[in-house]
Point group: C2
Chain length 189, copies 2
DNA sequence: GTAATTATTTGATCAGGATCAATGATATCA
DNA sequence: TGATATCATTGATCCTGATCAAATAATTAC
C-alpha cells in the first residue's frame, strides 16, 4: 500500500528508516468512486493526496458558474488544493476523482508537524513547492504564448496520456476552450 | 541602505541580530539606469533583487520575437527570475529596470548557503516560495476567467500604482493585450 | 437490456481583440 | 532647445474561438 509512496519520497530526499516510517504512518488510505469529490469548495478539510491508482482533477467554479480545471494528477503524483493547503484557508477548489481511485492522504496539520520533526521533510516540501511553482509558471506561459491549437498539440506531445485517458470535455476544459473547439481542432489535425 | 530590507525580513521571520547581520552582509548595492537590464536571457548569473527604489520588470521573449511581461516589482519587494533561481539553470527571462532604480542583490549561491547556516532563512525562503506560488496561481486564474477589460479593471482596483506609474505599453503587455486594445478599453470606461 | 443521460460532432452566426495604417502627443538626448 | 524616436490614439478590416442549435454516439443507471 505504501510501496509507490515510499519510492516517490526516497527518490527525492534521503530519509532514514525511522523518519520514513514516521512519515508513512501519517498517511491514510482512501478509495474514491468515479466522480466522487474528495475535497469541496468551502470545506475546512485540507489534505494532500498521493495517487496510488486512478486520477484526480482539481477545478474551481468561475463567476459564470462554469468549471475551470487547474490540473490533473495521475498515478504516483501528489495533488492538493495548494493555495488553501499553504495558508490554511477554506478550500477554494474542488478535488474530484475522475476515475475510481486509490489514494493516500495526509492532513495538513500532520504534514506541517513533520516539517519540524523530520529533518528531511522540510527539503521535501521545498522541492514540492519549487516544482509546483515551475509547473504553474510554465502553464501560465503556455496560455500567454500559445493558441488553443498549439496548446493541444503541446499537451498531446508532452502528456499524451491526458489526451488518451480523459474525456474530451475535460481535456478541453483543461485547455480552457470549449469541447466544440477541441473537436474541430482534432478533426483538422 | 539596508533599512528597508531589514524591515522586510524581520516583518516576516524572527532572526537574531547575528543572523540578520550575516544575511544582510551577503547583499550588495546596485544602481541601475532606466531601461538597464540587470539580468539577461542566457546568462548564468542568477541573483535575487530587493528593490529599494524604482521598479523592475521581468519578461521573456515569445517565439514571434515579442516580449511578454511576467511581473513588476516596486519598492520593498523581492524579484528574481525564479525558475532559474530555483534550479540553477541559465536565465530564461530578462530583468529590466523600468525606472532608475536602487537595488540590493544576493547571489544564488549565497542565498542557498544561508539556508544551511541561518535557521530562520529556510522559513523565509519557504514563505517566499509559497507567496510566489499563490501570486502565480492567482494570475493564471485571472487569465482563464477574465476578459481583457476585466483584467484591466481588476489591476486598476488592486494595483493602481501599476497603471498610474507605468507607460500604457507596459501595462498592456502585462495584461497580454495590445496597446491599441488597452487604449480603447480606457476610452470607453 | 433498455431507457435516460451525457458526450461528441457538425453547422451557422457573432463578438472581441489582433492587425495594419495613419496621425497626434510625449519623451529623450545631443 | 530642437530633432528624433517612442508612445498613444483612432479607424478599418479580419480571424479565431464562443455561442447556439441539432443530430448522433457512447455511457450510465436502473
Amino acid at each position: 500500500m505504501y510501496e509507490q509512496l515510499t519510492k516517490y519520497i526516497t527518490d527525492r530526499v534521503p530519509l532514514d528508516e525511522a523518519g520514513l516510517q514516521q512519515v508513512l504512518s501519517r498517511f491514510n488510505l482512501l478509495k474514491a468512486k468515479k466522480n466522487e469529490l474528495v475535497g469541496r469548495t468551502g470545506e475546512p478539510s485540507r489534505r494532500m493526496f498521493f495517487v496510488n491508482r486512478g486520477c484526480l482533477r482539481v477545478y474551481f467554479i468561475k463567476a459564470d458558474g462554469r468549471e475551470a480545471t487547474r490540473r490533473f494528477a495521475f498515478e504516483n503524483a501528489f495533488s492538493t488544493s495548494l493555495t488553501s493547503f499553504i495558508d490554511g484557508s477554506l478550500l477554494k477548489e474542488d478535488t474530484q476523482a475522475v476515475e475510481a481511485s486509490e489514494l493516500l492522504y495526509i492532513h495538513r496539520e500532520d504534514f506541517y508537524s513533520l516539517l519540524h520533526t523530520i529533518p528531511g521533510w522540510e527539503v521535501f516540501y521545498r522541492g514540492f513547492l519549487e516544482h509546483a511553482y515551475i509547473s504553474n509558471t510554465r502553464r501560465l506561459e503556455d496560455f500567454i504564448t500559445l493558441t488553443p491549437r498549439e496548446r493541444y498539440q503541446l499537451l498531446l506531445k508532452e502528456n499524451p496520456q491526458m489526451v488518451l485517458r480523459l474525456p474530451n470535455k475535460l481535456v478541453a476544459n483543461y485547455l480552457n476552450i470549449t469541447q466544440e473547439a477541441l473537436s474541430r481542432i482534432k478533426s483538422v489535425m
